[in-house]
Symmetry: C2
Subunit: 436 residues, 2 copies
Amino acid sequence: MVGETTHFTLEESQIPSAWFNVVPSMPTPPSPPIHPGTKQPVGPDDLAPLFPMALIGQEVTTDEWVDIPGPVMDVYRMYRPTPLVRARRLEKQLGTPARIYYKYEGVSAAGSHKPNTAIAQAYYNQAEGVKRIATETGAGQWGSAMAMACAFFDLECQVYMVRASYDQKPGRRVMMQTWGARVLPSPSEETAAGQAILAEHPDSAGSLGIAISEAVEDTAKREDTKYCLGSVLNHVLLHQTIIGLEAKAQLAKADDTPDVVIGSVGGGSNFAGLAFPFVPDKTTGGKDIRFIAVEPTACPTLTEGAFEYDFEDTAETTPLLEMYTLEHRFIPPPIHAGGLRYHGDAPLLCRLVKDQVIEAVAYPQSKVFESAIQFARAEGIIPAPESAHAVRAAMDEALACKETGEDKAILFGLSGHGLLDLGAYESYLRGDLMDS
Amino acid sequence: MVGETTHFTLEESQIPSAWFNVVPSMPTPPSPPIHPGTKQPVGPDDLAPLFPMALIGQEVTTDEWVDIPGPVMDVYRMYRPTPLVRARRLEKQLGTPARIYYKYEGVSAAGSHKPNTAIAQAYYNQAEGVKRIATETGAGQWGSAMAMACAFFDLECQVYMVRASYDQKPGRRVMMQTWGARVLPSPSEETAAGQAILAEHPDSAGSLGIAISEAVEDTAKREDTKYCLGSVLNHVLLHQTIIGLEAKAQLAKADDTPDVVIGSVGGGSNFAGLAFPFVPDKTTGGKDIRFIAVEPTACPTLTEGAFEYDFEDTAETTPLLEMYTLEHRFIPPPIHAGGLRYHGDAPLLCRLVKDQVIEAVAYPQSKVFESAIQFARAEGIIPAPESAHAVRAAMDEALACKETGEDKAILFGLSGHGLLDLGAYESYLRGDLMDS
């Protein structure tokens, strides 16, 4: 079926020119967000203070394709198409008849898939006259992508970074500053939300919930500013589908199609970006693809959460979303895959899990790092701890094929490299890394 | 001349299948290495305890092309072809009529160009039955590449890492350990050379000279072990020519050829890898290409050194090479571009500088970081401090074109990203970074 090719490349002209919207392919349409005060569906006017109209439109569109604007394509071209690599050395080491492919987003300058949507969001904001972006970040993956995108579109960027990461993991903070962003440790003195926390807990280490509150407050009080979010929302997932669309074109060059598609899930945009373009092949095309969403056992949203309306944030200020959730006050233990520590997940993804189009599994981090190191020694790339969850699941699928003798095609998303997370590898190699 | 393309890709099948040897294109052939004891040219027997015969053969070959073995190609395919990108956003910001292209080697899993030769060296050693590699590293760029390559070819890897970096810059040490290498801080208790230093200076921070002595001693006393070096020698430069050969093929797709080729120089392998495949166009093809080797003013080997025979190491145990040198006991100040702190340079490069085929410039690190940040904000990628020297020179050439109105094609080598060097960026952004 495939020759000896390892690295499937595309010409720049083959980068997809439209994003894919999964909504028309869903067995059940997604439920609308609900206003926390009125309990009515949220309308464009409710969102207009936070987001530009173009993104609000993408949030509710039922069009299957959304054209990628030229200025966004111009920036995508700086690092896209990203590689699709057949993991031949790993296959050999596992002794599996399966074909393992990984789509690698770590070649972006920020080292992850996050720029795919950060660039689009920066563009639409600039196009509508916005001058300044406020956002939050935990360990810094999202904040760094947004900082870079703002540099490309001449936007000021204000990032509220959870203080624990600001102090202890300076790497991505310095990246943001290099790209010109202003980074404040959260809680900060610049917002009422931050001041209130600091008055009670002067040494607060912060949380993503607090940082969201600060960024939203910052946005609300300034005319020139809008807010950006790095996952969960429909328009974010839409922008990430560039990943799966490219992978599809690259697999076509291999004359192959996936039997299994695997990605790690924090808020859901990485998984959705890879998987959603393949969903119609299952829901309407008749190929029984398995979609596996991988999460940490420390934050088992899809595998153990309830499917219900819940808040996106701790402070109950955002619209309610219908999703799998561990409850918005849930605080997961401090695992190394900081990007997977979210109590809920993207509504589009959750609906597809609910309708059994997508399945979910959870792994403890010790198993995840064990596989990450095996992958690094076979394929070179040291995976981000988040991405390593997908590595583990792909290896388990490949080993299952060894048992059954099936020669499945397994596609997984390697959403980023771990070069800013080497402390986690050191901890694992020393034997200090615990499962919670 | 060129369309709107930004990202010039190649098919995997277009990866060059042979390395290019510059020797036949040189106006003056290189002088041989001299034995430190006999003062006679060094022969294969002198080198056999350290290197496998295949690499010794490559060290002295006058063939213009050397086939890349299949198992090396198999590994190259995991990250090659690397991108050639037209820096359109930077051109626009500079307002230059020049076309600026950069060849980016930071997409390798080690984040630099070093794997191109590490993989080849690991292969040839394994092919001749070697079981174990000993090498040294300063900040860890070379050690990490060698550790990864040893994982691919099932070789044990022992790295002597300068203690100052081992203690203060754990990132690349953890990378080496993740890939399975054993890393010791140098000076160590495992060699007589290390013990002698520690007896006198128990708190010694180490040096590259000491680490080389330890790795060579380790090799000499074990039958199963050979030694690997990351730059300077002819075979190392040969392996790196994959960079320039790919760039040439990519520029051909742009229907363009370079007027200026720029690279940073530590030992010379990065520069040579990009530039040497273009040398015949000048020496025999009649195109007056300018080749610019860029070094730090803190270690101005080519711009201020003497052209003479000198030792490669501090301890005077290695053969003497004819090269530009600041004298083998010279200790450069501790600049952030640790990979450019070498007293000499590759003999092939030095001979071409002596014969005025290649010119050299030097920049202080403050100017280099200034340009690195401008580049990061325009093009995304945060350059390694070493690579940023080439960025600075490319920008100066582009600005000169703005003055003269010339629409030159400028090609520079972006040898790696700076994600393991963010402390240097933090220092610059804080205003702490000094020129020595």
